[in-house]
Assembly symmetry: C2
Homo-oligomer: 379 residues x 2
């Protein structure tokens, strides 16, 4: 076991109608909030209405910023920051999925510091402050509601990268599974893939951490048991709740304690597909993880097999890979690029950007040559 600090200050409110506790908690943090959200889904699922009602009821003034896009972009964060500073807001409230909350985290830093968002992402500016952040989650997937990480992309520099910082843990997160009842089939599936992939990044990380390994298995088993059930019964609150809570635990530090790091190679590789073709994050992961495991069949053979034994009662690398492929396919998430309409002719373009971004991972870092091999398994 490596030395580690176990820490997660988020107060996470989980369950039916928990947003009724938002207003009071927000009023302790300030009088004026920037409410950040995306497109129409929060208007449909009730989270926007409930959040607004709460803020009004407790006398918190609201300045709205909408239009955050999936695979969130730094220019939207810059614009939201200008709005927030203009109106002198004292907190940020984010209603939506990972893209909205990730954006809100960097917005909370940039409003407090008056700095540029990309300087923060690139580590050129080291923030000392952030406005307090409240997250109202409407999509079970990223775990951002209970961690200190944000990912943004920059079309100008052709990068999609993450920033990690204790300042950007939400003060409060509100998770009402009922808000996810209207999430469409494909995004429900991508969320289940995403939470599974977060567990896998931990599993393939550096360091021998037996309890964290067992937690990884526990969370993936939730996904295996309740994921396919949810795909058949998407209006089931209880199933939505189990997947939502599993997704939070897949990336709230719990699976990382005692490791030096996660691997994160597959995420880095997936970000390239999202950047180039706006492929949904979860879809990139269900395509790349099986290919990556095949690439790693020797370097990480034992570790892959150990996973297969615990999850699928198989005792080979190929058995494990097939287990995950079947699982992802059963959800309706693609396991080949061709399923998403990315033509094989794009291989060179993808490889070039993967290499330029050094999409490699920490524990099983891959070379340019291995990236080329990886791509040969992706169609």
């Amino acid at each position: 076991m490596n030395n580690f600090i176990a820490y997660n200050p988020v107060k996470l409110h989980f369950g039916r109608q928990v947003v009724r506790d938002l207003g009071k908690n927000a009023s302790h943090l300030g009088n004026k909030a920037l409410l950040v959200y995306g497109g129409g889904s929060v208007l449909k699922n009730g989270s926007y209405r409930d959040t607004m009602e709460q803020l009004e009821q407790y006398g918190v003034q609201v300045v709205e910023f909408s239009g955050i896009k999936p695979n969130p972009r730094v220019e939207d964060v810059r614009e939201a920051t200008r709005t927030g500073r203009e109106y002198d807001v004292e907190m940020v409230v984010a209603a939506g999925g990972g893209s909205v909350i990730d954006s809100a985290k960097i917005i909370a830093i940039c409003i407090a510091e008056g700095c540029d968002a990309w300087d923060v992402m690139k580590g050129r500016h080291e923030p000392q402050n952030a406005l307090p952040l409240i997250a109202v989650l409407t999509l079970a997937a990223t775990g951002t509601e209970m961690n200190g990480v944000a990912v943004l992309q920059n079309p100008e520099t052709r990068e999609k990268i993450g920033h990690k910082n204790d300042l950007i843990y939400p003060r409060h997160a509100f998770l009402d599974p009922a808000y996810t009842l209207s999430v469409p089939e494909n995004h429900t599936a991508y969320g289940i893939v995403d939470l599974t992939a977060h567990c896998l990044e931990a599993w393939f990380g550096e360091g021998d951490a037996s309890l964290s390994d067992r937690f990884v298995i526990a969370i993936i088993r939730e996904a295996l048991e309740y994921g396919p059930a949810l795909m058949k019964d998407s209006g089931n609150y209880e199933l939505r709740a189990r997947i939502m809570w599993a997704a939070t635990n897949a990336l709230n530090n719990l699976t990382m304690y005692g490791r030096k790091s996660g691997d994160w190679g597959v995420h880095a590789l997936g970000h390239i597909l999202s950047f180039l073709y706006d492929t949904p994050h979860g879809a990139t992961l269900s395509i790349i993880f099986p290919a990556w495991m095949h690439l790693m069949r020797e370097r990480a053979g034992e570790r892959i097999t150990e996973l297969g034994k615990a999850l699928f009662e198989v005792s080979s690398v190929e058995g494990t890979i097939n287990g995950f492929k079947s699982f992802f396919s059963s959800l309706g998430s693609p396991v080949r690029c061709s399923e998403t309409g990315i033509d094989e002719l794009k291989k060179e373009e993808i490889l070039e950007l993967m290499n330029r971004n050094r999409a490699e991972g920490f524990n099983y870092a891959i070379s340019d040559k291995e990236r080329e091999e990886l791509l040969s398994y992706m169609w």
Copy 2:
């Protein structure tokens, strides 16, 4: 799943020599500390010396209060409170095991509020403040280092009861498994029993929480795998580390999310034995849990069997009970009162106090008649 709040603000520093980060963190909390500890073990295992060095190095004045006993008593807490108030300390630093840290939690409240410790325990005084607390853990067992619970006993009223409060989460906890290398065999075993029992109290709690169930299984498996190994190799840092981290997770809220409560009947029953005969807490649990499961063979039969399937690959209540009995015995912890020297003639005395304290549990609350039956399985 029940609604719940997931929250744990403790910053827990885990691993070799982590106490070197204590002084700096303490100095942010104040200039004068009450250092609370028990008997001689902290002098032998290095934790006292390291903590003192850190506090001195960072200019934190130290007022010492030693002599906290196992199964901690309210009168010691009162005396420590007087000392702390007399010297106007600004924080409490606890070095030791569960008894010391539990005492320090109530001391931290009583110094801040000027109230009586037993009034806090009995809920007659509702505290609004507590001094900040730092815990240096030297025994893997209770999980108190990462929760908001403290248990004290009062010889006058013949009670041993718990207090739960967000105010008493330690600000920082320092867990260096090396400090536990010198823990004697019996207390090492009791710690492993204690962590297992905390998982069981969660398992038998009220509410259907699948991920929390899987976490329970994960943590008990750590105990099953590394507990007996540690008993044979008590100087092994890595095994000490795994048991220490498992013990923290067994009672840091993680296994409770989504449940209405744990059961806690066995703990309540065990406290009576500790109160009457100063039986070590872990020993009371390894005696009572098998008897309690036997008592519950019908009321909780399915739930007991589910546990046995997951842990021991058995498919009956008796198989599960035997699994736990073998496990506890293999550690050297008693599974019958006779092994601890409590004579069967004491049955009536025990029953009388159990009934008077209404030691019953929340989910499978037991009657006077059932307590009598339970006792018949304890010799």
